[in-house]
Every structure is written in C-alpha cells, then in structure tokens.
C-alpha cells in the first residue's frame, strides 16, 4: 500500500538553528499518529515544513506519492490556536465556511448549501449553538472546536493538527478525540502534534518521537517505550520516572 506521507532526509533551520536534522519516516493510511518530543524539538516546524509554510534546507517529502502542491486538496491543517488574531471581526460559522473557500472557488460567494454544511460540521463538534457567536467571545476550547470543524468540512484524506489539545477543557478534549477517531474509522489519516505523554497510549495507535531527528517511530505499543521516551527527552524527563512506573 502506498504510504500517505513519505519523508526522506528532511532538514530545516529556524532562526539560524538547525531544528530538523535528516528526519525520515513513512505514515500508512488510516493511522492516527502523535508527534511527541520536548520543547524546541521541532514538532511544529516539522508540520510547517511538510505543509511548505516554512522552507526546508534539504530532503524530500511526498504525499500520496505526489508533491505537496498536487496533493494540497487532500490535506487539512489545524494550526495552533494562537496563530491567528481572534479579534478579527467574524463569527464561528464564517470561520468554518473558510474551509470550503477552496472548493467554492474564486469570485463566487458561499451559498445556502455551503452554510448548511458548515452548520453540520459545527454541530458535529457540539458547537451548533455558537454559530453566530463572535469568535473573540468563544472560550479557548470552543475556538479549537471551531478550527476542527473547519478542517472537517474540508473533507480531506490527511489531517495535520498542531497541539489541538493544548489548554482546552475536558469536554473539548473529548469532542476532538471522538472526531479524530471517527475520521480514522473512515480510513482517513491523522497526525497530531501532542504534548501530553500520559494520554499518548490511550489516544493514538502510532507515535513519532522527535528530537531534531526521529528517535523512534512505529505502533505505540512498540515505539512508546520507557527507553525511547528517555532517549527523546534526555535528562529533562526525570520526573517521568516516578510517574509512569
């Protein structure tokens, strides 16, 4: 089976520092992978380089055996919540609608059909009541759900999520994870930058341990071992010793 993502010898730098060094991995379709690593390990940068939002120094990346430009339509991206200005004058429904802009096409305005679809996506995230709410008046978790609804409506085959569970409430965390599992059951592929080591085993079937390069990658049961985690986090993880024992 053709891998969904194939990354080979990928290197990138950020503010003069090399943050990704010869990263290589493959992702199979229908899997749910968490990308885990310490702060500054290059997790977000990896996502941005894959999506060509940040330049790479060297290496190759292919999606569904094609370049990013050709596969773009099949890829959905949920950026970190802090990456946009939530004071922007628009409401939740409108943000979700943005997920359809590519399909609506230039010069055309969104129609009723599109609005209904957006409302449906919001409903799926349990946010239907907030459709006309100003985005600055949503809580952090609600904003994250709006972002996820926007990704859902894209109906992509491959999803990238950057820290979707950071700083959200328990209800949002549940809603997001249910949605991701639903996507997986439909055969979609999901990659999530994740920060909470304790939930990795419960939430994801694959894990990619990253610290500037790939430390370990594979099914969670095989790759998420104490030794690999220790190698990824180095000395910074002493507190884990007593915790996961």
């Amino acid at each position: 089976m053709l891998p969904v993502i194939n990354v080979n010898q990928l290197s990138a730098s950020y503010r003069k520092n090399k943050v990704l060094d010869r990263v290589g991995f493959e992702v199979r379709p229908g899997t749910m992978t968490s990308i885990v690593g310490p702060n500054g390990a290059g997790k977000s940068t990896l996502l941005k380089v894959l999506l060509e939002l940040h330049p790479k120094l060297s290496g190759t990346v292919s999606f569904f055996g094609e370049t990013y430009a050709k596969a773009k339509e099949r890829i959905g991206y949920v950026p970190q919540r802090g990456s946009v200005d939530w004071d922007f004058p628009t409401n939740a429904l409108d943000v979700v609608l943005m997920g359809l802009y590519g399909r609506i096409g230039w010069l055309k305005w969104p129609k009723k059909l599109h609005r209904e679809k957006a409302l449906e996506a919001l409903d799926q995230m349990g946010m239907a009541d907030y459709a006309s709410r100003q985005i600055s008046q949503l809580s952090g978790g609600q904003q994250q759900r709006v972002f996820l609804a926007r990704a859902l409506i894209q109906d992509a085959d491959l999803y990238f999520l950057d820290e979707p569970l950071a700083g959200v409430d328990a209800a949002t965390e549940r809603a997001i994870m249910d949605t991701l599992k639903l996507l997986k059951s439909k055969g979609r592929t999901v990659l999530v930058v994740h920060h909470d080591l304790q939930t990795v085993e419960d939430y994801f079937d694959h894990v990619l341990l990253l610290n500037r390069t790939v430390v370990a990658h594979g099914p969670t049961a095989d790759a998420f071992t104490r030794e690999n985690i220790f190698r990824t986090y180095g000395g910074t993880l002493r507190w884990m010793e007593g915790l996961s024992g």
């Binding site: 959905g76 950026p79 200005d85 004058p89 628009t90 802009y101 230039w106 305005w109």
Partner: protein
C-alpha cells in the same frame, strides 16, 4: 453641490471615490497589522513624485504617479529586507525608510524648485495635498485607479478575508499567499500614490487608518466593517474637500483628516460595539442589577437574622 464650479464638482467626486478606496484598503491594512506601513510608504513616495517631475520637466500626473509607485515599492522592499535579514525590528525599519526617503525627497524638491518655472509646478502641494489644483484629466485618472482598487477588493472578497485572518490556512487551500500579498501591496501603493495629490504624503496614512479604526467600533462582521470604513472614508474625503474650498489656499489634506477624526470621535463615543456611551449604559445597568441583587440578599439576610 449647488454653487460649486464644474471643476470643483469633479474634485469632490474624486475625493469621494478616493476616500472610499482608501477606507477599503485601510481595513485590509488594519488586519494585516500594517497601519503604519501606509504612513511609511506614503512618505517614501515623495522622491518618486519629484523624480517624475524632474524627468518630464513639467507636471505630468501619470509619470509622477508612476514615479511615486516605484519609489514607494522600493521603500516597501527595503523595509522587508531590513526586517527579515537583520535584528532591526519592523517599526524601526519603517521609521528609517520613512524619514530617509522623505529627506531624499526634500533634497530633490529643493533642486527641482530651482529649475525654471518649477516653483509654479505645485510640487509643494504634494506635501499637504491640494485637491483644488487638480484638473479634470487628473480627476479622471484618480477615478480610474481608485476603481481598480475597488474592483480588486470586491471580486476576491472572501479570499481577502481568509488571507487576513489565517494566511497559513489560505495557503493550505491552495491560494497563493505570495501573490495575494503582492496584489495587496500593489493596491495599497496604488491608493497611496493616487491619494497624495489630494491629501499629501504626510497625511495620506490617516485616510487609510482612521476610517478602518472608526468602523471597528460599529460592527462584528468583516463585511460591514469594510462597507462602513468605505463610507467613512468617502464621507471624510468629501466633507474635508468641501470645507477646504472655503478658504483661499487652504490645504485639503488636513481638512479631510480632521473630518475623518470627527467621525472617529463619534464612533468612539456612540459606536454600537465598545462605544463609550454603550459601555457606560451597560455598566450602569450592571451596577443597578448588582445593587438590586445585593439589596435582595441583604434584606434576605436581615429577615433571616
């Protein structure tokens, strides 16, 4: 409008359209967080205006506008270059380009003013704007250029919104943010160079900034913010021009800016969203409610004791 000369009516129409276009581009600039960029670019246009004049030897608006555009774009590129490849931050980079280009412009202006007949060129009017000095041909050109801006903003409205709100996502949808950025910058420079004839290089930025900020006080929707900003901009352009025709030799720019500032103060006070009066009423209502509940609680306590 009655009582105005034929030419004055043309001038009025042109500042109306200019204000509308500036109001729209100002909204885009506001959400691109580049309000002061417009100030830097309009100052940076001065060497081009003077250069265009020197090149032709007489006042030829299309050449001068082209010169202004070239010089403003060079300024924009330099700001980008300084910011992206050194530790100097954007605000300082803008300050540098703004003042150094303006200095260069003044140097050139002094030169050109020595040329025979140049003192009558009305070059000085580019500093504060002199809408009244425009002739019908100039006005027509302003109208055409401003209409281009209206068109650009109008036909890709939802794309602009996404581009401003979440450029990374826009890129993921297959939009070329590089091209959109270039078109945005082109349109911004176009409004600026068209506007400096009427408003002047020093105050052109106001026409881009103030209507957008004022519109922010009225609405939660981007679409309405753009519409209101366009209305405020157009209104300010017209009112300012009208007032400046009452005095002999009064510069148009400052009057347009003051008209815009008045609209801003009104918005600040009475704006439906976060306007001072609205906030005061809300606070009053809240306090009253609070007082009533504490009163109820207190009386309940007293009854209990």
């Amino acid at each position: 409008m009655i009582g105005l000369s034929h030419n004055a009516q043309w001038v009025l129409l042109s500042t109306l359209i200019l204000g509308t276009a500036a109001g729209i581009m100002g909204c885009l600039a506001y959400w691109k967080r580049q309000s002061l960029m417009s100030d830097a670019l309009s100052h940076a246009a001065l060497p081009g205006v003077v250069g265009g004049f020197a090149l032709m030897g007489f006042k030829n608006l299309p050449v001068m506008i082209a010169g202004a555009a070239v010089s403003a774009l060079i300024g924009a590129l330099l700001i980008h270059w300084i910011r992206s490849s050194s530790r100097v931050k954007e605000d300082a980079a803008m300050g540098i380009i703004l003042s150094v280009f303006f200095g260069l412009g003044i140097m050139m202006l002094t030169f050109v003013n020595r040329m025979a007949g140049a003192s009558q060129s009305g070059l000085d009017s580019f500093i504060f704007g002199q809408a009244a000095s425009m002739v019908r041909k100039d006005v027509l050109m302003m109208i055409v250029l401003a209409s281009i801006v209206l068109l650009v903003a109008g036909i890709a409205f939802k794309e602009w919104k996404l581009f401003l709100f979440d450029p990374a996502f826009a890129k993921g949808l297959g939009m070329s943010t590089r091209w959109m950025g270039a078109i945005y910058m082109g349109a911004l420079v176009l409004v600026i160079v068209v506007g400096i004839q009427a408003v002047g290089v020093i105050l052109m930025a106001a026409l881009l900034i103030i209507p957008a900020v004022s519109a922010r006080y009225w609405t939660q929707s981007f679409k309405w913010m753009v519409v209101l900003s366009a209305l405020f901009g157009g209104g300010a352009g017209m009112i300012g021009t009208l007032i400046s025709t009452y005095g002999k030799g009064w510069p148009t720019g400052p009057f347009i800016v003051i008209a815009a500032a008045c609209l801003f103060v009104v918005s600040l006070a009475f704006g439906a969203r976060k306007g001072l009066v609205v906030l005061a009423v809300q606070q009053y209502a809240q306090r009253k409610k609070l007082r009533r509940t504490t009163f109820v609680q207190q009386s309940a306590l007293e009854r209990g004791s």
